[in-house]
Symmetry: C2
Subunit: 522 residues, 2 copies
């Protein structure tokens, strides 16, 4: 299969007639065929109409059928073979090993959600049986399950062209919940998007599902995305990208006659706190781990460690020196797009204006390459500057020098919401950590000890989320099995005859799911 330059509306391949998107190989600056002409608003409406039609049956598909569909998507993606990897390499500048790993993660994620669908915990079945003899009033029979919200709009991210894009976490969790998905393709990797889209399209057909379960739309600029979020049939939005982009979608979603939830993952600088004993004992090792994390994917991870906080002194100086050495030895890396590289250069320039430059990686040979950058500033200056809290997307980080642990605490308190917060600590640091932990819990979706925030495990306990502006909705996660909850709502059934009750709620528990019966877990 090779990319054809088409959008996918249900089972049809559709060639738009609006402004054209063309991928650019960031490693060469050359554009890649084919052209992707954008769709118009009518095409958006058609995709939403198909999704609405599909919703009627897809949301009640059996747990088995839905799980099999998710597994079929994974199999179809794998069946694309190397064409997917080579196209993604050309469109993103990311290396083969990374993209092969990301494909594994994407397919593993789909299979995890298949298992989650089968287990049925997400239904959250609750049964309060009738109590006809209760005084002063009898109780009627009341049963609750969760149902799919409706068609979901998904906006893929540029930095994970597989795992956070067309068949990424948002699509997988929405499909798992029983929601048809309409994806607005990211313009940075159209060919990759189309290939994965065709794999999903194929899986829809093979599983005999209604075609509207999945559509993939191309459109340059913001119009198509805004039209999608404004469409009355869309009932929720998943987005990973910039703060400005997420805020714009939140606004559109709130201004609809019927407001809808937006799950936007936007902006995080992922602070790392170096506690004194750990810094003293293993400063050099921590510095190397830090720069390794900073350099991952050219720093284009949402969990990139953009802030390192320590108490000033010889140990911090030694850490900074070791980090500077590692930064100096870092190879230049091609960034995802020319635009991202330009924004990175701007952001580094702004940091340079406000903070001391500690080290910069040497320039490479290709265009659009990031040179890892390390800056430092005093906590007092950081606390006084809003600009220093802004995310620089790419390998750049800022060391904050605090006078003491109290000032470190003040820095923690001043932070905006984050995806992650990390503590580097040794046994003697536990008291200091206990002071910081309640602050960090409030600021971040995930708190780590002696690790690095890059690398997000796809599992049941993961939270890839966090308070605003890390995300638009701290009450959920975009990675891990709990993400299915984003796309569900509870419905209560009062006194329904057995013949009308949804299968999940029937007395004999045909789905064999855990249930809360009269408040007791069974």
């Amino acid at each position: 299969m090779t990319p054809q330059g088409t959008s996918l509306i249900g089972q049809s391949a559709v060639t738009g007639d609006q402004a054209v998107i063309r991928a650019i190989d960031p490693a060469s600056g050359e554009s890649l065929a084919p052209d992707y002409p954008g769709l118009d608003r009518d095409a958006v409406a058609r995709a939403c109409e198909l999704a609405e039609t599909a919703y009627a049956t897809y949301r009640e598909s059996s747990l088995k059928a839905r799980a099999a569909f998710l597994e079929a998507i994974a199999a179809e993606i794998e069946a694309l073979g190397d064409v997917l990897i080579t196209r993604a390499m050309a469109e993103t500048g990311l290396p083969r090993a990374r993209l092969e790993g990301e494909r594994g993660r994407t397919c593993g994620q789909l299979r995890l959600f298949a298992a989650v669908v089968r287990a049925g915990e997400w239904l959250d079945v609750r049964i309060d049986p009738a109590l006809p003899e209760r005084q002063p009033m009898p109780r009627v029979d009341l049963r609750q399950r969760h149902v799919a919200l409706g068609p979901v709009a998904v906006f893929g991210a540029s930095n994970f062209p597989l795992a956070f894009s067309v068949a990424g976490g948002d699509s997988a969790s929405a499909l798992a919940a029983g929601c048809p998905v309409v994806v607005k393709a990211h313009s940075a990797h159209p060919g990759t998007s189309e290939l994965v889209g065709r794999a999903i399209q194929q899986a829809v057909a093979k599983c005999n599902l209604p075609e509207g379960v999945f559509s993939l739309l191309f459109g340059s600029g913001k119009e198509i995305g805004q039209a999608l979020v404004a469409d009355p049939r869309i009932q929720a939005v998943g987005f990973t990208g910039s703060r400005a982009g997420g805020l714009a979608l939140m606004q559109t979603a709130q201004n609809r006659p019927q407001p809808i939830p937006v799950y936007a993952e936007m902006s995080s600088i992922n602070p790392v706190f170096l506690l004194p004993e750990a810094l003293e004992a293993r400063g050099k090792e921590i510095a190397e781990g830090f720069v390794g994390s900073l350099n991952m994917g050219a720093g284009q991870f949402c969990t990139n460690p953009g802030l390192v906080i320590g108490v000033k002194g010889a140990a911090l100086d030694a850490f900074v020196a070791a980090a500077a050495e590692a930064v100096g030895g870092s190879a230049a890396q091609t960034m995802l797009t020319p635009g991202i590289h330009a924004a990175y250069a701007d952001g580094v320039g702004q940091l340079a204006g406000e903070a001391r430059e500690i080290a910069r990686a040497p320039a490479g040979e290709g265009p659009h390459q990031c040179q890892t950058a390390l800056f430092a500033t005093r906590a007092g200056d950081f606390l006084a500057s809003e600009a220093l809290q802004a995310e620089v997307f790419g390998a750049a980080s800022l060391v904050i020098e605090c006078d003491d642990l109290a000032e470190m605490h003040a820095v923690a308190e001043a932070l905006e919401g984050q995806l992650t917060a990390t503590l580097q600590l040794d046994d003697g640091d536990l008291d200091a950590a206990r002071m910081l932990l309640p602050v960090l819990e409030r600021k971040a979706g995930r708190v780590l000890v002696n690790g690095w925030p890059t690398g997000v495990e796809v599992c049941h306990a993961m939270v890839h989320g966090g308070p605003f502006p890390a995300t638009s909705d701290a009450r959920s996660t975009s990675v891990g099995s709990a993400a299915i909850r984003r796309f569900l709502r509870p419905v209560c059934y009062q006194n329904l005859p057995a013949g009308l009750l949804p299968e999940a709620l029937q007395d004999d528990n045909p789905f064999n799911v855990t249930r809360l019966v009269d408040g007791k877990r069974e």
Copy 2:
């Protein structure tokens, strides 16, 4: 204890110096002492600051301590004795039996949440243990629990001066979640609010909790409420009231530098579908049940049946005749406030302009009384009129005459989001019910068969919620134990040493809660 005319900020009683609120006895039109001078914005900020301080410790209070606090509130409310009931009767025009029942429900609700807190399901503990040998990459130890969002603003409703007000469902669920609560008192029942507020204040003191766990603010107009929602320390909002009021709070919450979730329960007309066999067999009985539900609390229930849909013919005519007779025999009832009565009179006037009046209850002797009103119109006219879908708060309902079941289905499809949808059916109606059920599930938070929507059981399976505009957030419920989830967010802990792990996540499961370990329920 008698009402003093004060706000409560933490353990202090505070007398404002802004415009005065004074309760009005709607049965006599006379105003009731004392005056409640409104607070200024500084007082709002003080209450939020205290709440923020309290949050630090209250959110980590032990399950036992928090449950005991909720039970202490219930006991303190009961200890107020008859002074609470007589004051609430005077302020609302509601009869004694209703208010005594509502007090029982309010205290029962607090005790239910105490049990929920102790059981600890709400923590949603998930543990994915480390897999150091996993290939190609080891897995680190990951654990998830839910934590309280932060201080919550609660806006009580006028129609349930106890169960949806100062110590009502929103306060109980937020306190259960570990969130301090700042209540903006409803101006319609200030004395009732103060008495209940003092009971909570007392419980805070007796339980040795930080005073900021609870504050109660009086202020006329919208300024204090808007200031409260805009305060940066407030992290979520619970509201029950009008659509316009809810929308205004949603707007304020979205326009904050950090947007926050708003749980507004606003507007619902609670359609009742009369299926043919049931209508034929028990039309008269259904008509009596319907008018009984319509008249409850002078129709001032959010679940009041404001819409009845049937297929035209002799059976529907007989139902309408029986309902008209019951309406004609309904006693006039005092409404909650002069303002609500005026809005009711307007709404009934508008219905009279757009639909046929079927029956009207006779006038009573007091002021501000509702006379139950029944109207009818053809489905075609209903589908063409937006005004006919607007909620009339109070005992008024509209019968929709459909040509056939297909038109009944079209009416269902055209409805806005609802708290409830009801089916009256007999065995022969099951096929028709199966056609409607998927539509109703999408429109409503609760679907009932052969019952009436008024009367909301406080239990585990209840959903008192539903799609917009019934509520601002269909993903939750404002009644029942699942309401605790509104005020929680997940946090993931990666690789924390045992000495730093929150108690809920420790290996030996000290809280003895159900856990999801490696995806398996234990």
